[in-house]
Each structure stands twice: as C-alpha cells, then as structure tokens.
C-alpha cells in the first residue's frame, strides 16, 4: 500500500460526493487520475482489504431491525455453534470474545419480528439462551480507521 492508497482509503471512509462524476471530484481533491483511483479501489476489493464500496445503509430506516446478541457456548461445542450461526443469513458478524459470554454476533432482519424469530431459532437449534441486547440509544457511530 502506498501513499496514494492510504489517502484514498482515508478519504473514501468519509464518503464521496453524490455527483455525476464522483471519481473526477475525488481525483481533483487527491491530485490523482480518476481512472487510476477506481483501479486502486478495485484492486483492494479484489484482495479483500476492502469489503465494499457503496452506501452505508441505516438499517432501521430500511424498516429492518438490528440487534447485538451473545451466547455462552461450552468450549467443546464452540466451532459447531459458530457453524450453525454462520449458516444463518440473518447473522451479519460473529466474534469470539474473551468472556463467559464468548460468542457475540449481530443480527440483521427485514423486520423486528424477524429478530425475535431468529433468536428463538438459535435457542432451539443450540439449546443455549441468547442474551439479546438491542440498542436503546446511539451516542456515536463513526467507524473510521486511519491507515
């Protein structure tokens, strides 16, 4: 990754202007070539450094629902339960964390009822109680990683 890659990734995390020629606008800002910027983004999407480039949707505004949930999974069953969750399209992320509640995941569903149904299904399929922690207040959302 060179200096232009870094500047490009930092800049794109802030969002691009909603104009007909967004890459031209960025090229002028970064003193670079528009086609070259697109090639750089494509290369980073291809090598997996970037997950996606596009709008960052507010899930609630889409009528969808989101929650953070956790399971306390016995060590011997950890990988199996992780596989069960990975197979569910509603599970957007799943992390192991150092705690008795050792599996933390985000559920994203089209409706709030979908969340309740998915939690019920996880409890039925794993036999483990789910800690459901929907957000009550947002104080800050700013996933920015300066590279």
């Amino acid at each position: 990754m060179d200096d232009l890659d870094r500047r490009l990734i930092n800049r794109l995390q802030l969002g691009v202007p909603l104009v007909r020629h967004p890459w031209q606008a960025l090229a002028e800002e970064l003193d670079a070539d528009a086609a070259q910027l697109r090639e750089r983004v494509q290369a980073r999407l291809d090598d997996g450094t970037l997950t996606r480039f596009g709008p960052m949707f507010d899930i609630e505004r889409l009528g969808g629902a989101f929650t953070l949930a956790a399971l306390s999974v016995p060590e011997a069953r950890f990988d199996r339960v992780a596989e069960q969750l990975a197979a569910m399209p509603e599970v957007a992320h799943n992390y192991r964390r150092e705690h008795a509640w050792n599996m933390w995941f985000v559920l994203g569903c089209a409706t709030p009822e979908g969340i309740a149904q998915t939690i019920a299904r996880i409890e039925a399929e794993t036999g483990l109680p789910v800690l459901n922690l929907p957000k009550e207040e947002t104080y800050h959302v700013g996933l920015h990683f300066p590279v």
Partner: protein
C-alpha cells in the same frame, strides 16, 4: 421537478446499491441503464435517500483486520441510568471510540448498559487508551469489563431490501 423512479425501479436500485456503487466514471449512469431510468432520476433518488437518512454516506467498508486493526475491544460499563446519556455522549467523542451505544441490562446475567467499541493495532495500545479514557472521565471506579475479540467467524453485510413480491403486491 425531476421525474423520479417507480416503486419497482426504486427497489431494483436499492438492491443494486446494496451490492455497492459500480466502479465506473459515471456510476449513476450505469445504474440508470440497469433499472431503465435516466441518470438524473437515479442520482436524484440517491440524494433523497441520503438526505432522508436512509444511508449515512456513500463510502467504504474496510476489513479492519486486513489493515492491521487487529485489537478490537468492546468496553462495557454499568452506568447509573440518570447519567448514561451524558457519559455516552462524552465517550462517543473520545479518541479511538468507533461506536457508542446504550443497551439494556439483563440482570442477573448482564449488568452493563453502555457499550463502546474501540479498534486499534495493538492490544496494549487499546488497553492504555481505554484506561486513560476512563480516568479522564472519572469512570475508573464504575463496574466495567473489556471484551477483546479473538476470532472473527463471519463478517459480511446483510441484505435488507424486501422481496420484490412485496412491492408488486402493493403496486
């Protein structure tokens, strides 16, 4: 007044945007061709969605681990209800805090109501940052825990647009 998209075109556009913005010199022209509308109508629709808060920005999701942000900590705290808003707003502005939310306690299993996500390159650095943040805000003595992630099993964006049949049924 620009003529906007019909329901089906709008849904198609949203689906296409969930996959990402095409990497083209004129991305809205590419999308317009795919939904059968004009570039102006597509761009205007996207601006309206942006203005109404449907999406926060047209930006980038980085795989933070691939870029060296391997230390990912969830700081959870038990803050008295009467000051959780004030503390949440303050910590939300602190350096290194990417997300800050209030969530419900689930007693007796889970006593914590304020969550901050902090990502960094090194675990030690994240610990120091959090200790400093707690000290500066007079929070060192509130019950808190730091949950570092040790493995990521799944990291992907969801799909949230309703099925086309729902729109057709209303259309």
């Amino acid at each position: 007044m620009t003529s906007l998209l019909n329901d089906l075109q709008a849904l198609q556009l949203r689906r296409l945007l969930e996959a990402g913005l095409p990497l083209a010199a004129r991305p809205y022209q590419v999308l317009a061709e795919r939904v059968g509308a004009s570039e102006e109508a597509v761009l205007e629709q996207v601006r309206r969605w942006s203005d109404s808060g449907l999406f926060r920005r047209m930006g980038l999701v980085i795989k933070h681990r691939a870029l060296g942000f391997r230390a990912n900590a969830m700081l959870v705290m038990d803050i008295p209800d009467e000051c959780v808003d004030e503390v949440g707003r303050k910590l939300g502005q602190a350096a290194g805090v990417n997300l800050c939310y209030q969530r419900p306690r689930r007693l007796p299993d889970w006593p914590y109501n304020l969550f901050c996500m902090v990502h960094g390159r090194e675990r030690e650095q994240v610990c120091r940052l959090i200790e400093q943040m707690l000290a500066e805000n007079g929070l060192y003595d509130v019950p808190h825990q730091l949950l570092f992630s040790t493995r990521a099993f799944k990291q992907c964006g969801g799909r949230y647009a309703p099925p086309a049949s729902q729109v057709a049924a209303h259309g």
